[in-house]
Symmetry: C2
Subunit: 343 residues, 2 copies
């Protein structure tokens, strides 16, 4: 059965623009909060395929999105490479022993990660078994740069001073880490594809931290390596990349992938002008417009005016926030599906 979301990733004309939301399986849904409370904590939920499957399906059933995204976290990869990870309430993820040396990099275990991440592959199999045949399942990973940043900083950071100190004073160590993480991600995404995902997505949330020259040297290079590997071996699986906050660098974007995710700080007109011929575009309504229905209407109209249901997947320009009313999320999805019909 044809999946409108996958068709759109391949540039085929679709009856309406498919739509989903980053973080759609998340805290704004009371049903998610219930399952999460049962699981105990965030990591336990990631590691429980049955519960992870359940929350992945919720936004499809409740909100009406055109694709499910597997419930997981980008940091399970460094975790299963051997780093100790905790999610501390109010602080977010914390690695107790951040990477500071080549010895630390050498201790990371690529093959162990590929194996131990079986709970993710099991989650995928469960979701694909239950998801309607016309809905797509998105698998994902963090970009090597974004993962390496967490692994070096140890936790969220405002200044990125540890990881930036490393790239400017010890670039070789940084490259050693990035190369190893990239190898782990190749195996991880390969296993996700074999387990049944329809589309693969790479999140580079911390792209925004790097100046142009550093971005292409320390991040984009490794994203390209990963997507080239996947395209060579799994040409039928569409790939979405989402480097957040690099509107100034679009001229240099190239590589083997299908869909470019546009964040809300990059005007859709600009993304279309620079990348619309080469790639399908995904995005990019300001997520906080979900606070208000009039703001949703206006935001949806602005994006449609530029993209006109051509070579486009509708999404927010970043994740949905926990305090958004579920009713407004539903309204957003329905509005997109109706306004783009027969365009």
């Amino acid at each position: 059965m044809s999946k409108i979301f996958v068709d759109a990733c391949r540039g085929k004309k679709t009856p309406y623009t498919p739509v989903w939301m980053m973080r759609q399986a998340g805290r704004y849904l009371p049903e998610y909060m219930e399952v999460r409370a049962e699981a105990g904590d965030f990591l336990s939920l990631c590691k429980d395929p049955k519960k992870a499957c359940e929350v992945s399906l919720q936004p499809v059933d409740i909100v009406g999105v055109d694709a499910a995204i597997m419930f997981s976290d980008i940091l399970v990869v460094p975790l299963e490479m051997g780093m100790e990870l905790k999610f501390v309430k109010g602080e977010g993820p914390v690695f107790s022993n951040p990477i500071t040396s080549l010895e630390d990099v050498e201790k990371l275990d690529v093959q162990k990660a590929a194996n131990e991440l079986k709970y993710v592959y099991d989650t995928i199999k469960l979701i694909r078994g239950k998801l309607a045949a016309d809905k797509a399942l998105i698998g994902f990973c963090g970009a090597p740069w974004t993962l390496a940043t967490y692994m070096i900083e140890g936790q969220g950071t405002k200044t990125y001073n540890k990881v930036k100190k490393m790239i400017y004073t010890n670039p070789n160590l940084m490259h050693a880490l990035l190369a190893k993480v990239t190898e782990a991600l190749k195996l991880y995404m390969e296993n996700q594809i074999k387990s049944g995902i329809d589309v693969a997505m790479v999140f580079d949330s911390w792209a925004v931290a790097l100046e142009q020259s550093a971005y292409f040297e320390f991040s984009w290079k490794y994203i390209k390596e990963l997507t080239s590997f996947l395209k060579k071996n799994y040409p039928d699986t569409p790939i979405i990349v989402f480097p957040k906050g690099i509107s100034g660098y679009l001229d240099e974007i190239d590589g083997e992938f299908d869909v470019f995710g546009v964040d809300w700080s990059t005007p859709m007109e600009l993304a279309k002008e620079k990348l619309g011929d080469k790639y399908i575009l995904q995005g990019n309504m300001e997520p906080t417009r979900l606070y208000d229905k009039k703001a949703i209407d206006e935001g949806v109209d602005r994006v449609i005016k530029v993209m006109k249901n051509e070579r486009h997947i509708f999404n927010l320009g970043h994740g949905i926030l926990p305090d958004v009313p579920v009713e407004n999320a539903k309204y957003f999805i329905k509005t997109v599906q109706e306004k783009t019909k027969n365009l």
Copy 2:
């Protein structure tokens, strides 16, 4: 006596590119830490003209920059408009009673702020009295949007969810606040100019939080109102604006000011292409390049290659970080002054 920094702001050819650093009077300097410890806390230092003068002059004497910037904080304006402000260790600035209603906005006192900020005007007079005649003194304020964001969020925020909820659900309240803050800033900057600053700068640090349409409605409009007022009444005082992180919106930038501050995430080539004919450009070396002398050389060369000592003021693309060695800061300043000589 001619000031190379002021000449550059006016587009005159200068013997080398003048250079300073955002946050140059700051924690990377042991001499600053000493004065701050004497003052007690951060706000007490802002309110003590003699000590604020002393730390403002330090980077001129120690690091060799071409301009002093008065030591103060953008939040003294909402503070003196009547909001209770504390600097909490590890958390940064906190307003105990954030703005939530029109009544809160009405309570803010524009005239009181203009008067109570006398300690800033006194600081300026002291600095201008002691600063060498060929060095410029920069006065500054926060942009209305950036100040309003702090006033509504109450403290630093990752998601800006309170202020964004306000702009999408209650834009009239937001405009009422922005209009009032703009009035206070007009008087404040007018008094700074009368007290002796050579150049006025407007920091819009949280420009990065807004999508394009919202940026021009809720921020840029008020910056333009402020700079037009100053240009009309004080045409001889050059104005620098620094909206951080809006590389995607440069096509829409216009207004009456002299210098556009380019942050490190906006490629200098792009800024020059879009704005270089209309405005002098300031910026934009990645501040974390200061961790390493080779990285400084490379960063300075990249900027010089684009700007070639023409219509340019050298600066970092954001503030200097506290853990940068003073020696490297000195090296940066000297490198710029030498490499741009006779270009």
